[in-house]
Subunit: 671 residues, 2 copies
């Protein structure tokens, strides 16, 4: 859906405008006017002839001018009528602020459906209902009830939660963080997250896209839009409802299910999304990106008047995928010349507790002249000779002079920092209260899946004939064997005489539709040494068959067991996975995942993400296994997933790896 027109109206009607300053109808109108919106504004209400200096109308039909967008802030029961009236006179775009729809249960859902029907009938773009409005800084369009002026900036913010949107808005005004766009999605009856992600692809003002989402509407569309979006921009999402309990809480307040956590995680990775852990990270990322930061290496340089904080920050950097950069020899020499009383000149640099603003200035400038220094972190705690405000000014000046360098500050303390914090904020220097706030988000950015390939959208067909049944064991092997996945010889045992033909030792398994965890149900005999042992098992078994049968497999040498497979997600499609198999699968949970368009390269990357990869690759001088064969099997699993829409879930566990073979030894397919 193209929402460019929606976001750039030239004339706006406010249905439910008010002269009462306490009402949203006043606040939104006031923000529209004071935000500097250049288009026409038509307030509509039943009581007043004029609102905030604008002529007001009793009804939308009385305006008789072209209206691009209507903002609706009236009780829920009247909303559908107003939409229909407006649609009939040709208004195509709507922001419905009013609550009382899907989020309150059945009555509200009925109201929401009326709106959806109107939208389909008249081809309307509708944001909401139950939202806080939106801001598009590009045309000074502020249709929210933010309490003061919103700065223009790099950041596009979208949120499914009104509460988080309002907290972010309030916080951003305090921190002087600017937005290109700010969108409260509300119930997403018509316009949803994906429409905005698509719009931001070409929106030159938006460099960082931050989203709070509890539900991903359409995983395929999401991956398609966001993989294109994150090619040139940073996309960071906080997903609410990741745990069962959180999902339950989300369900109860949005009326929508959170979706499979692992599918969402995989889809985020595929689309190049930075997955945020929590609200604090979300806010800290906005602090970092208030200027358009370009991070092209992971080398951090530090100057500090606080030894202890320096030690902590160094600990933190060393435990992350960041690095302490090395100063050029010239830089070290200059520092030694200018700061002879400091005994240890290296990065990180402790300029000692009695450093004044001048000493900060000398050190910072020498660092910044060094080509290797692109990311400079300046630490300060207020000590007896610290010139806090003056140091903040020194930093601001130097950061204006060296515009191509990234300068971050961490000033730790209380009230004595207030003025300095304002100075740094005014200069848009990313300034944090604790080292971990910066380091955590820096690492997230640097270690993200950079510039993903575009994900091709495929409509997911809802499978109507889900049986939730285990496919027959031998059938399952036959199926993967058709795709040339190597499988172990597996014989169905039907009579005592069958035990004559095996070469011992063998493994005997009892298989059937109910048997999921074979070790649980005494359904596996790992070391059957001879015919007699086999026959004993067979005779015990026939007493208690329960719709199952026995199979025999040769016992093979087992260096390492993997689990490979996929699980189909209704929104994201098949999620391919590989991990440490056998008994250890659940203990170490060393499993990585990918989406269905897996290829050899991505399969290898997936394996490389496993903790056990060094073993696959040959720990110490131990022999190296045929990794290419494993990646090949993963690609084939992707193919099986695409070509067999009836398969819900497939697990090969274990795939046994030894020096001579890589072979599927057990399998479970659910259709």
């Amino acid at each position: 859906m193209n929402i460019k027109n929606f976001l750039n109206p030239e004339s706006v009607a406010i249905i439910g405008a008010s002269n009462d300053r306490k009402k949203l109808g006043w606040q939104i109108l006031n923000n529209l006017i004071s935000g500097g919106f250049n288009g026409k504004i038509y307030p509509i209400n039943l009581n007043d002839a004029q609102i905030l200096g604008k002529k007001a109308y009793k009804s939308i039909e009385l305006i008789k001018k072209k209206i691009d967008l209507a903002i609706i802030i009236i009780p829920a029961v009247h909303v559908a009528d107003e939409v229909e009236k407006s649609a009939k006179i040709g208004i195509k775009n709507y922001i419905i602020i009013s609550a009382g729809f899907g989020e309150i249960g059945d009555v509200g859902k009925k109201r929401e459906n009326e709106i959806i029907n109107l939208s389909n009938k008249y081809k309307l773009n509708i944001l909401g209902p139950n939202c806080l409005g939106l801001i598009n800084s590009n045309n000074n369009f502020n249709a929210t009830f933010a309490k003061s002026k919103i700065k223009k900036g790099n950041i596009a913010f979208i949120s499914q939660s009104g509460a988080i949107a309002s907290a972010a808005l309030d916080w951003s005004q305090d921190k002087s963080i600017g937005f290109s766009n700010f969108v409260s999605l509300g119930n997403e009856a018509i316009l949803n997250q994906n429409d905005f992600f698509e719009y931001f692809i070409d929106d030159k003002d938006s460099k960082l896209i931050i989203a709070y989402l509890e539900k991903i509407e359409d995983g395929q569309k999401f991956m398609n839009n966001v993989s294109r979006l994150s090619k040139n921009k940073l996309v960071a999402i906080l997903k609410g409802g990741k745990t069962i309990e959180g999902g339950q809480a989300s369900l109860s307040h949005t009326g929508s299910l959170a979706g499979s956590a692992i599918a969402v995680k995989t889809g985020f990775k595929r689309a190049g999304v930075i997955e945020l852990e929590n609200l604090e990270e979300m806010f800290n990322l906005m602090i970092l990106y208030q200027k358009n930061i370009i991070l092209n290496n992971n080398n951090i340089f530090i100057i500090s008047n606080a030894g202890g904080v320096l030690v902590n920050t160094t600990d933190l950097i060393s435990s992350k995928k960041l690095n302490l950069g090395t100063l050029s020899d010239n830089t070290v020499k200059s520092l030694k010349d200018k700061l002879p009383f400091i005994s240890n000149i290296y990065n990180p640099l402790d300029i000692i507790g009695d450093a004044d603003a001048e000493r900060y200035k000398i050190a910072i400038e020498i660092f910044l002249k060094d080509k290797k220094v692109t990311n400079l972190l300046i630490l300060l705690t207020p000590q007896s000779s610290t010139e806090i405000d003056k140091t903040a000014e020194v930093i601001s000046n130097l950061s204006n002079k060296y515009k191509n360098k990234n300068i971050f500050t961490i000033f730790i303390g209380g009230e004595s920092l207030n003025k300095a914090n304002k100075i740094l904020q005014f200069n848009e220097t990313p300034n944090f209260s604790y080292p971990e706030q910066l380091i955590n988000v820096l690492e997230k950015i640097i270690s993200r899946n950079f510039k993903p390939r575009e994900y091709k959208y495929k409509k997911i067909e809802k499978i109507s004939n889900k049986k939730n049944e285990v496919l027959d064991y031998l059938e399952s092997f036959k199926l993967i064997s058709k795709y040339k996945i190597p499988i172990i010889d597996t014989f169905k045992i039907e009579k005592e005489e069958d035990f004559n033909k095996f070469k011992y030792p063998i493994v005997i398994k009892k298989v059937g539709k109910q048997i999921n965890h074979k070790i649980d149900s005494n359904a596996i005999f790992l070391d059957v040494k001879n015919r007699e042992e086999g026959i004993k098992i067979f005779n015990d078994y026939i007493v208690n068959k329960n719709n199952s049968y026995l199979v025999a497999q040769p016992k093979i040498n087992n260096d390492l067991e993997l689990i490979l497979g996929f699980k189909r997600d209704d929104s994201f499609g098949p999620i391919i996975m590989a991990g440490f198999g056998g008994t250890y699968t659940e203990i170490f949970n060393d499993i990585c995942t990918e989406v269905d368009d897996i290829n050899e390269e991505r399969a290898l990357n997936l394996l490389k993400d496993l903790k056990i990869f060094p073993i696959l690759n040959g720990v110490r001088s131990k022999s190296i296994y045929d990794i290419k064969k494993i990646t090949n099997i993963l690609v084939k699993i992707g193919k099986i997933a695409r070509e067999n829409k009836n398969i819900q879930e497939l697990d090969i566990n274990p795939l046994i790896i030894n020096e001579n073979e890589i072979i599927a030894v057990d399998i479970r397919i659910i259709i």
Copy 2:
């Protein structure tokens, strides 16, 4: 060392007092006076006859009165002279603020040694040098240069870093956090962390002890003091220099080595210490403990006007060792009666975005009347009908009414919260900016090693004859065998004929002083099937002996491999460890540790902390191994460590576990 007198002087001299408000000598004197210190105060300086209304003296010798403590703030070069003069007239206690000692290198170290010699000669208690002073609220003794009055409180704070101490002091004044004691340790020339830990054991005003430490002076004394201290109080420590790089940074600014990270971690656990991850956690724990919180269960109850934040907080709680409590039926009924418009009444409770102060009041009071609710978390984001300040007042009033309940708040936003934050702060309600700030510290407290047994101090003898050599292989087996640790039959192969006596298959290992990682150096043959294979290996080997010899062991069935052993630390003593062994040791790093006073119970707890414990204990219906045998071996390893002071390091890897035996198959001892 008993420092009660040191901390409670009745008369104080300030050597280096000043009339210049910019100088520390003025600031400290001013704080002493304005802090309400009741004792005598004698300023000493060369220029002025009176300072801050007090008669000043030109020299300490002119005072001619009993002086309990001298504070010294003069250039480093003069400090030793002043200490000697003062010692001669009988002053026993000193706070040396002056810098320019051990921390600046050799010149300073010499000065510091003079101080240490004087201390030994005259039996002096000295805090510092190079410190920021101390506060003992109990006698209104504030000998720091804090900028405003320090509140009395529950928290004892000690820091090896002056920078972190000054940041904490500044921050605490902003947040109105009170201290019982506040100690900047400086270089710890005489008094150190352990003296203060010991003092806090009986100090009734200190309920939470917070420390920032880079170096643990004496691990044995530390464990003894802190294990006693943490029986009745909470001890939380942030350790700086945990990584190699951080240790390096610490070394360069304190001149002291950080010590073995794993030993510190183990000692902290043994002593019941909460190990803090970072500065932010340290500060957040102080916010939580400004009132004396008693946490006796992990059930959290939540009321929120912000659905999205509720979802996030629930995700967070579910991923930690915390639990969402269940409301009593009566509570649910009352809530349904009073808040009929809320469709989902359960914990966590979403009272919806339009909640005003009255709705908060109703919900909170019903929750607090429920006996099951002891930990109540109240979330708020500023939305259009939120009564922020009034809600803060409601919370403050109810928290005064229900004093035996723990009430925490998280108000998320910006400037609109300023007044509410002050209201909550005034009432000492622990109030945080983000859910993760509270939840992280709550979990740390609840999952700490509660009420440790007292650790018995043993003086660690420095080993002078460290050889750093590998003990002979067969000798090593013999040694552990003396302690009745089961070992595998191991034969030294000396001639071809030896191969006649083995029962194949066997394992052949090449052993010697240089061979650490046997798999690395092609020194292990895991499956020698017959005599001929063995002889071939023997013949290849004799060409290239290199001070080594061959041994043969029977090949045994291997369900699981453990690594058990110990490593001796110069400060904490032997650190016993157990973990997932064999190839996977380094991959999963699933290793847990204990100190040398390990017993059966603690050994079992150690095993239970391993990720692989479920396998040891029998995953699914798989047979259970003899865990008692393993704990027994761990206790014996403790004994070996105590009785063989020459052993630096001992690794049994693997200890092979199968259904029939638990047996040491490989060993390495370093002497």
